[in-house]
């Protein structure tokens, strides 16, 4: 079922109107992209056909992470490795626990499945946030102070390297000394952060610390998954066209530009003259920007009542089985539908039909 300017309309009519709108657009952007892998793949095909751009609602963090990985590389650990083998986990900032409130419980189960290196009792260090409740068998400490999060990361990095730095706060100094010693003596230290929360130079300092530690022991990073299957969509974009999200298909070859192809900026400046907004994941919602005629594909019509063309779609993992990025396996897996509903089309169905309608008009 679809809605047209707030009134009930047939799906076919909505699809025709969407094809009209997008077929005329000079530079459409496909944003939000809260969808499964099939939806993302169909969005990339449509973007190429339209000569438009693709972006994800979590594009800022995804772009930062992609740039860091491309520029210097990184040493990520999988969720399972961290859970089973890390003896020290450093949680940087509030982002990781805001993204996943059960993160600590998941990383520190009462029973470990695999032998763990070293003799240290497991410990979690909260950097830039207060301690949260941890299981009894896990030590925890918090490093906070007047210093900002980037300063705390730099101070901890300097302490791990045992280089000279100046701070007057003696309590903070004591905590940093203790944490630095603990990290140096760890068999496997892992730094957990949210790419959307910390700036690139800060991420690089964390990675430099890891590179320093791996000269003598084992260390890694773990980033929390982006919302809305962001990591899955980003991977799908990369394996499809060789570039992450925030890529344009307007010219002969795809062009990635994290600044130029950001949805909000494109709409604010009027450079994009049409938007396809996709918000169709079970349990998560993306905030839709405004500023251009929009085709909204939403699994919750209430979220998008003011769109020019609104098409109600099935929710991935709610109404239909879906391939999604799953943090616990650090990869893409199939998630069974909560309650199968074949009455509504999937995002991939709708985008493919719109592409076919545009092809038919151009034929």
């Amino acid at each position: 079922m679809a809605k047209k300017k707030g009134e009930e309309a047939e799906l076919d009519s909505a699809l025709e109107r969407a094809a009209d709108l997008l077929g005329r657009a000079r530079f459409p952007v496909i944003g939000g992209l809260f969808t499964d892998i099939a939806g993302a793949a169909a969005a990339l095909v449509l973007a190429e056909k339209l000569g438009g751009a693709v972006d994800h609602a979590a594009g800022t963090g995804l772009s930062r992470a992609s740039r860091v990985m491309r520029e210097t590389g990184a040493t990520p650990a999988s969720f399972g490795e961290v859970r089973n083998r890390a003896d020290t986990v450093v949680v940087i900032g509030k982002g990781p626990l805001e993204r996943d409130p059960d993160l600590i419980a998941s990383l520190f189960p009462a029973k470990l499945g695999l032998p763990r290196p070293g003799d240290n009792k497991r410990e979690v260090i909260f950097l830039g946030l207060d301690k949260v409740r941890t299981p009894r068998h896990v030590r925890s400490s918090s490093i906070r102070g007047r210093a900002t999060l980037p300063e705390l990361v730099a101070l901890l990095a300097a302490n791990v390297r045992e280089t000279r730095f100046d701070i007057r706060d003696k309590a903070l100094r004591t905590k940093l000394d203790r944490a630095g010693e603990r990290i140096r003596n760890s068999a496997f230290a892992v730094f957990v952060y949210d790419s959307a929360e910390i700036e690139e130079p800060v991420m690089h300092t964390v990675l430099e610390t890891v590179r320093h530690l791996v000269l003598t022991t084992r260390a890694a990073i773990m980033t929390v998954a982006a919302p809305g299957n962001g990591d899955g969509v980003n991977l799908c974009s990369t394996w499809t066209c060789g570039l992450p999200v925030r890529t344009s298909f307007a010219r002969d070859v795809p062009e990635h530009d994290a600044w130029a192809y950001e949805t909000d900026r494109l709409l604010e400046t009027g450079e994009a003259d049409a938007l396809v907004w996709i918000d169709a994941l079970e349990g998560e919602g993306a905030k839709r920007p405004k500023g251009a005629p929009t085709v909204v594909l939403s699994s919750i019509p209430g979220r998008a009542s003011k769109g020019d063309v609104v098409i109600e779609v099935a929710s991935a993992a709610g109404d239909h089985d879906a391939a999604l990025y799953l943090a616990p396996i650090s990869g893409i897996g199939m998630v069974k539908a909560g309650k199968k509903n074949k009455d509504k089309p999937t995002v991939a169905d709708v985008l493919t039909t719109i592409a076919e309608l545009i092809d038919a008009r151009n034929a």
Binding site: R26, F27, L155, A158, H204, W259
Partner: protein
């Protein structure tokens, strides 16, 4: 021979990729050929002739008039000759250039002088984020040449810079000199937070004491630096009114990483 002039006819409804409008590409082309060059960034084809009035002949001396912040990549990969811009410019002015001079009378967007290896980019007013930083697809920022910014600079000025000199007349944004490997920034109006974050080597020269200094920079005291006098002489020779003197407080950092960089605060 008169300069080759491009005068923007109207505000474009899309960003323009002006990277083809450099001397080595335009030399020997007729006006007809030049006007046929595509500069569009959407599927709606736009040529030089659609967007600009074209006059003059000398492709070694290119002038742009009436440009705005949608005019991207002016002088990108420039290998010689001069470009003068009477107006604002968009992203990546002078990015990856190897030689020549670009003078911008207005402000510039992001990535001005990104990954340039030689030549001179002079921006009279402000520059956006990541000036002298790494261009898209590059692993290092500016690798040589001179970038001068008369007004303020955005965040991440000189990020991952490898060589070269940047002079900012106004204030630089946060993370100025972030992750620099080498090269020199002269900051005449101070900087935002986290200047020198992740600095490996290279010099940040402040003509005034910055408001915030990272705790991972270590004070080495006030010293005499002959090279500041040499730099002052060189900058004056390049037409800049600047006084550096020979004394400065030296702070070594960033101790969070390699720690072989320096902040010099003129004393």
């Amino acid at each position: 021979m008169s300069a080759l002039v491009f005068e923007l006819k109207d505000t474009p409804d899309q960003r323009l990729d002006l990277s083809p409008l450099v001397p080595e590409r335009l030399d020997g082309l007729s006006h007809k050929d030049i006007k046929a060059i595509e500069i569009s960034t959407t599927r709606e084809t736009l040529t030089v002739g659609d967007a600009f009035k074209v006059k003059g002949k000398n492709a070694q001396d290119i002038h742009f008039y009436g440009t705005d912040e949608r005019c991207d990549k002016i002088g990108a990969r420039l290998a010689g000759g001069e470009i003068f811009v009477d107006g604002d410019v968009g992203s990546q002015v002078g990015a990856r250039m190897t030689d020549g001079k670009i003078e911008v009378r207005g402000s510039a967007g992001i990535l001005a002088g990104a990954s340039m290896t030689g030549g001179h980019v002079a921006i009279r007013r402000d520059a956006g984020d990541q000036a002298a930083g790494p261009a898209f697809g590059e692993t290092m920022g500016m690798k040589g040449g001179l970038l001068t910014i008369g007004g303020d600079a955005g965040e991440l000025l000189g990020e991952r810079m490898r060589r070269g000199l940047v002079v900012v007349g106004g204030k630089a944004g946060d993370y100025a000199g972030g992750r620099m490997i080498a090269g020199t920034l002269v900051l005449r109006g101070g900087a935002g937070r986290y200047a020198g974050y992740g600095l490996r080597r290279g010099s940040l020269i402040f003509t005034e004491k910055p408001k915030d200094i990272l705790p991972t920079f270590s004070d080495s005291g006030v010293m005499e630096f002959d090279y500041l006098l040499l730099l002052e002489k060189w900058l004056r020779g390049a037409g800049m009114r600047i006084k550096l003197g020979g004394r400065a407080r030296r702070l070594m950092g960033d101790m969070a990483v390699l720690g072989k960089g320096e902040m010099l605060i003129l004393a």
